[in-house]
Amino acid sequence: MSPIVIAVFSLALLLILIFSGVHLNISLMITSFATVLLFTGRINVAMNVLSQSAWGSVRQYMFGVIPLFVLMGMLANLSGASSDLYDAAALMLKKVRGGVGIATVIANAIFAAITGVTVASAAIFTKIALPQMNRLKYEKKFSLGTIAGSAILGMLIPPSLLMIVYGSQADVSIGKLFVAAIVPGLIMTFAFILVIAVVGKVKPEYIPVVEELSEFEKENYWKIVLKPWPIIMLILVTLGGIWGGFFTPTEAGGIGAFGAFVLVLFKKGFNREEIWETLLSAGATSGSVLILLISASTYSKTLSMCGIINSISFFVEGLTIPPLGIILIFMFILMVLGCILDSTSILLLTTPLMCPIVQDLGYDMVWFGIIMIIAIETGMVTPPFGMNVFTVKSSLQGIEGYEGTTVNDIFKGSTWYLIAIIAVDLLLVLVPVLVTYLPNNM
């Protein structure tokens, strides 16, 4: 059977399974099994694709980064770092129009440097920042959007689970990806701040009240501002360590998690229950990511084995579209997929198909990884399926003033940020040096 026929069968089966609601890991494994069986006619071979991936694809030192960075973020959160960061930023920006919103963005950006996942930030900052914005009479949708939007920084600023997944799938150095994401992450942070500043100017009724510092805040100004210093130190040690080459990402994860653990001990003492809960949930998150990597590797092996990747590359490269056009089409596809799928799934489904083509076109694979991840992250705030929006919605319980909020309100409020994300991604597509400069000068 020709690879094209098999490719069509394989993709159709995969999409049917995924959209029917079968779990992604099972969909990928069943599709791989069926595809290889069809191609080789050998049931043993089809079965062995599954066992080979189970055994070979995550049993590497590098994948230590997954549980470790997940644990580090959770422990840092347990230590109260996120609210310390927010308090410090909010105090410094108090007299600025939109200051509380900007503080949310900045606290998110800094906290992002220690967490590898984004959903947590959305949940935490709903609890911390939303009541403040409500008190200052921010327009409701806009404040909700600010939280859903800025939580995206969690994945764009290293460490990032998506970068780890991309690095392992596309065979690109995770350390380089982390370093490459620093400038784009800062640009994105700046773009979000710009959104708030612009909204404050154009629609002052969205951000009506600007406050003065209270007596208490004046007296304790530096105490509050400097309170997050340990978490900043931890970020400098872990990310600085990767950047400076003192240790590999896995080692940075180990040290970072250990540092966060020490932080918890110092700030909250040894609460066995809380620490145990954190450890358990880090374990569960890691397990679900690792099995996704295994099943995705099954699928990408299958695509190579059956010659599907070659056929698709051949087809795409035969189109009379300039290379940049192909990149833009890819970005568009990723954003459309973002409407209906979650980020990790999109990355796992598309890297084996897109990366060989992009590589053949001669593009930098670190750069492509970053612009790809940003495009995929738009999906966090686009309907109908937007993970950050859902998280904000489910964290609204018990917050005063937001009782009647619908998911659609949050999607609407996020539009400002969606535009910013797309604009930044386009900028990086057109000016690749913003991404490639740092990793190439490591």
């Binding site: 969909s27 066992s51 890691s286 690792l290 209906i340």
Partner: protein, 177 residues
């Protein structure tokens, strides 16, 4: 149903112990790596075999966690269609998904078994100089975790079928994200 419910509760308890073991393993990785780096930076003496130990633990973490994650409905799935159908539709989707899961993990077990036996037979190990770490626990974890996955799928199928037939909830709520 009472007996089944009891067995099911006991099984779920067992899965959370596995979650506990896996989570402790992560703490072990954390401490091991920190000690390795400190020893290298301070005493110029890196540990031999850290990489092999960490990679062996990763596979164990993965396969001990997935049945627990499955029990907690934590595996990634799309719910676009799922959210649109009624109660019965949801039950049917869940049952089909579980059946496919049984097939997938059954295939993994069948295909992994010869490698496991061979590993015991030849004393298969990862080697770093004269340091050897056996691959047997890792290979066993894949089979053990997959068996637990299948049992958990059966556990869920019983619940969903009960829901489907009686129209009452056995206890578990429908699938979430």
């Amino acid at each position: 149903m009472d007996v089944i419910r009891k067995i099911s509760k006991g099984f779920e308890k067992f899965l959370s112990w596995m979650d506990g073991i896996a989570s402790i393993s992560i703490a072990v990785i954390m401490v091991l790596i920190t000690a390795d780096v400190l020893s290298r930076l301070l005493f110029n003496k890196p540990f031999v075999g850290t990489a092999e130990i960490v990679s062996s633990i990763i596979i164990i973490v993965c396969f001990l966690e997935i049945p627990y994650v499955s029990m907690r409905k934590g595996h990634v799935r799309t719910t676009v269609l799922y959210d649109m159908v009624g109660r019965k539709g949801k039950d049917i989707i869940d049952i089909v998904a579980c059946l496919l899961g049984i097939v997938a993990y059954g295939l993994i077990i069948k295909a992994s078994f010869p490698g496991f036996l061979n590993a015991i037979d030849i004393n298969e190990a990862e080697i770093a100089g004269s340091f050897r770490i056996t691959t047997v626990p890792g290979r066993f974890a894949i089979i053990f975790g997959s068996v637990l996955m299948i049992l958990e799928f059966l556990n869920q199928i019983i619940k969903y079928s009960y829901d489907l037939v009686t129209g009452k909830s056995s206890e578990g709520e429908g699938g979430s994200k």
